[in-house]
Structures are given as C-alpha cells and as structure tokens.
Symmetry: C2
Subunit: 326 residues, 2 copies
C-alpha cells in the first residue's frame, strides 16, 4: 500500500515526556527521541519546543525521507475539533492544539487522544495486529482506553469516545480527577493501586510494604514477588475490579481481544492472572472463547508514537489530515 | 439510491408474535401482518408457518413488487453464523435459522438479532435518523440493545455485540435468565419493574398496587398516574439504574443519542424524567450536551420489521445477503 520510502512522524504528548519518532511504511520506527513535557508550561511553549526539536531532526534528512504527515496523540485531545480539552494532569485548560502546531509546520497534521494513539499502535503493529475489533487500555497515571471498531479508531459523536476509565464501578467511592466518585481509574491505575495498598495498610494489614520508602505499583509488585501475601492481594483486588469492568465492555463491543498496556501492566502475572480469572467468570457465556486479554505487543513507549504516526498516515490517505480542526 | 419500485421484506421474530411486512425504497411499510410465534414450537415449524404466510402474501404481488431480499430479526441471532443461539425465552436451542429459511425461499436472506433490527429501524427511519453513532435499547420481556457505529450496525468479533442488558449493575443481585446475578435486565425490563414493585410491597409499601389483579408495568404506570407515590418510586428507581448504566455506555461509545423503545418505555415521563436526570448526573462532564435520550420515533411494532427489511437491503447492496451463514 504505502510506498517504501514514505515516512510519517508520530508525537506522543505525555504528562512527563513527549517522545516523537519517524515511522516507515512497514510500521518500523526509524528513530525516536524525546523532550520533557514540563507540566507547568503553556501548551504553546511545549509546541514551540517540540517543533524546534522536530525541525532540527528533519533538517538532517534527505528530502525523500521527509514525513508525509505528522500525527499527534495528546491527553484529552478531540480528533474532531483539533482541541485539547482540560486534561486533568497538566495545566493547559482548553487549547487549539492543531492551530498552534499549524503555525510551526506546513506538513499535514492529525490529532487524536493519547490512549487512542496507543490503541491504534497495538491494532496496527502490536498485540492486536489484524484484528477488526479491539479494546486497548493503558494503565498509567490514569486509565486510558481506545476502541478499534471494524478496523477503525472510534471517536464517536463527540470525538471523545473510549473513556473506560470513567465508568463508575463503585458508586460513592473514591474521588476521581474528573470530579465524580467511584470511576474505574480511581481503583485501577498507578494511583488506584497505591491507594488500595495504603487503605489496607491503614486497616492494619501485615506487609513488608510498611518498610518501603515510596509506595508505588512497582514496590507492590516487588513485595508480591518476595512472597508478601498482602501485596499479592492488592493486585488480585485490582485485577478483579478490572476484570468485571472489561467483561461489561465486551457485552457492548464484543472485541476479539483486550490489550492491557502501560506501566502498571508491568505487574505481569500478579495483575493478569486474577484479571483473566475474574474476566472469564464475569463474562456473559455467549462471549466465552471469542475474546482474550493480552499484554502489549510493542516495546514500552512505542505504541503511542507508532499509533500517532499511523493516525497521521490514515488521515492523510483519506484526505482528512490538515482539514481536521478547521 | 434504491429504485422506486424496489421492496424488501422484513421479519421480526418475537416471543409472542412474528410480524412481517414489505418496505419500499423510501422506508415506508407498504403492509404488515403477523403470525403467532407459539414458543413451544420447534423453530423449523415457525419458519414453515412463516413462509406459508409470506408465500401466500407474495403470490398476490405483481412480479415487479416482489422483494429484493428478506431480512430477519430474531432473539439471539448471530449475523455472522446465521444461527440462533439458545434464546432464553423460547425453547429452540441452537438452530441454523438461515439454513431453515433457505429451504423455503430463493430470495437473498440476511439475519440479525431482534434488538439490532430495531436499532437499525430507529437509525434509518426513526428517532435516530441521520445519526452516525447511536445506541438503541428495547425494554420488553428483557432489555435488548443495538449499536450503530459510524452509520453501521455493530456486530463485533463474535457477531453478538450489543448486550447491554447483561452488564452487571448489582453484583450478587437478582438471578438473570443468562444464569448470572445482577444483570441490568433483572432490574430494567418488564419483569424487573414488576419484581421491584413486588419487593417493595413485600417490604410493606403502602400502595394501590396491592389491589391490582396482575402486577404489570402498565399497572405500575396507571397507579403512578393516579397519584400512587410508591408506583412513581418504582419507576424512579428503574430510571436511575438505567440512567447510570447508559452514562457508562456513553463513556465507551459516545453516541449522539440513546433511543429507548419497547413496551416498558410506554411509562413515558414516569420513566424518562428520572432516567434523564440520573443520566445527566452520572455523565462524564465532557459528554454533557453531546448526547440525548429519546423515545422511539416509530409506531409500536414497526421498528423491528423496518429494521430487518433495511438489514436485508444493506446486506444485499454490499453483496453479503445469502452468503451469510455459509
């Protein structure tokens, strides 16, 4: 389909770092680098620094190596408006991201949510390769999700489809960054796991986690690996909550697989074993055997960049890049 | 698009009656009739009686009035396999419905789930006309749902997408026909409303419903209309449970509207007012103003027949009718 020499640039704006890289027609990342995001910056400053770095890099390329388009994934981005709408973990407010970027480049641009970009990366090149129906969730600071329906990224009527982190699983439960109570991401995310551990310790649980300097998902995993039953229990509870929520999402979407990515997924079997058990137990019987839960099929931090580049490629092919957000 | 003289036959297999009718290219129902379903019959007997009635009717038509295809909506039908898979309210087991029908007609055939057919009817000709992203739920004996994504009926990987009635809203709650506990349809359906009323009465609620011969959704509505506070409360509780579940489904799909159809929806404002209130209260703020809850836009009993006929039309146009299930 794509010409051999064609390339696309993908940008994955994150809360801490903003990696970008060049993808070839086979979905290989030719190179990748990163700038710090600096949460306190205005978005226009981030865009300025980003394109300084991008331009410097592109200046080293031969003309035929220059990208066909730039795809950008960003927290709370709306693919239909080109705007970023008040992401909870940075201080941007609502900003016309595509407008800002357009002042710095003549290349076609396409924008989507960061979790959607990761989902497209997994669908095109990762664990969901070749699947027409896919749900991808990213467990990090929050719980992001992206849906592939009939081979295409789903944006929905509002442009903001795929917010599984904000289904309510515990009415009246923990306060969420979105302002409501009991969202899935208050239980299943880096902060959610830490809070579950903290609550258990406060309730008197016996655990080596009392001794750790900083309570993190990795510390909980390390403790579980060392035989700490309470730490294993924290992951088991996290997996059960997620398993039930994923089973409910299958009843709507019936995907072929659910890919679970992100830093929190590095807990491995401590998370995946109870997750899969609860998922199968909660699944409507008619779906048993039609859907599986998979870990990411891409190296850490590549899904977002590759997916953003692929989004740029697809929007260019259908003639929509550059128009988006106008 | 469609030629003026072209027609499509739609069949809506239900638990009690099986209406069928002829749709023209403008989505008008030229005529409709019905045969009893008789739950104790084998499916092949129903198909036999259905095509006896269809053939008798088609024999009265001029050749140019004959349908281009037949679309069938049936409980628990799988569009990808052509089979009906153990519907809970009839005694068919798993049956090759398209295979049975093919023995009786040379016309192209297409099959989908009954709730999907109703969803397509509302999307093409009813309350969701012109919308690219739509969720349609049908409140009757159970809670059926169908999804329109990017203008097309969503069947998902298994062929069985859109089972919102079986998301679990009350873990450990009422026993569902699917064998699990606490499914949405145990609370929000004809049986669910009756059970909620019965539980309240058993707990000592003061209500004129103690005097009714048969406790039905209509009896609860009639009592509410007469000023019975308990009856109004039964609807309010039903609306709240449904409002929360619909808000969660928006976080995945972001439809433009959710159409609420079926006999139970005849409760009107007693259901819709608390439903809409809870829905807006539970909605992730980013979706406020992007999605509305609407009643059916079609006469009772037409959505399923029109939607089935439309499904036959679409599958014929894309060359898939008749191949389905092979």
């Amino acid at each position: 389909m794509a010409q051999d020499a064609s390339t696309w640039l993908g940008v994955d704006i994150g809360g801490t770092n903003t990696p970008f890289g060049l993808m070839d027609g086979a979905g290989r990342l030719l190179w990748q680098e990163s700038i710090p995001t600096r949460r306190q910056d205005r978005l226009s400053e981030l865009i300025g620094r980003l394109f300084d770095a991008v331009d410097a890099r592109l200046a080293t390329l031969l003309p035929e190596q220059r990208p066909q388009a730039i795809g950008i994934g960003s927290p709370n981005a709306n693919a239909l408006t080109g705007r970023v709408e008040s992401p909870p973990n940075v201080s941007w407010g609502t900003v016309d991201l595509l407008g800002e970027a357009r002042r710095r480049t003549n290349l076609p641009l396409a924008l989507t949510n960061d979790a959607n970009a990761a989902a497209l990366g997994e669908a095109a090149f990762g664990a969901g390769r070749g699947m027409r129906h896919l749900l991808v969730i990213t467990l990090g600071t929050g719980l992001g999700s992206g849906l592939i329906v009939d081979g295409k990224l789903l944006h929905g009527h509002s442009g903001m489809a795929g917010e599984l982190g904000h289904v309510i699983v515990q009415p009246g439960g923990r306060r969420c960054g979105c302002g409501r109570l009991g969202c899935l991401e208050t239980l299943v995310s880096a902060g959610g796991v830490v809070e579950t551990a903290r609550e258990g310790l406060a309730a008197g649980a016996v655990s080596s986690l009392r001794e750790v300097k900083e309570l993190t998902p990795k510390a909980v995993t390390d403790a579980a690996e060392s035989g700490d039953a309470f730490a294993a229990q924290v992951w088991a509870e996290t997996g059960r909550v997620l398993g039930r929520a994923l089973a409910d999402s299958v009843a709507l979407l019936s995907p072929q697989a659910i890919v679970v990515c992100g830093g929190v997924a590095r807990a491995g079997r401590w998370l995946f074993d109870p997750l899969r058990r609860q998922f199968e137990e909660s699944l409507l019987p008619v779906y048993l055997g039609t859907v599986e839960i998979l870990p990411s099929g891409l190296p850490p931090d590549q899904a977002g960049v590759l997916g953003a580049a692929e989004w740029g490629r697809r929007e260019t092919l259908r003639g929509a890049a550059f128009e988006v957000g106008r």
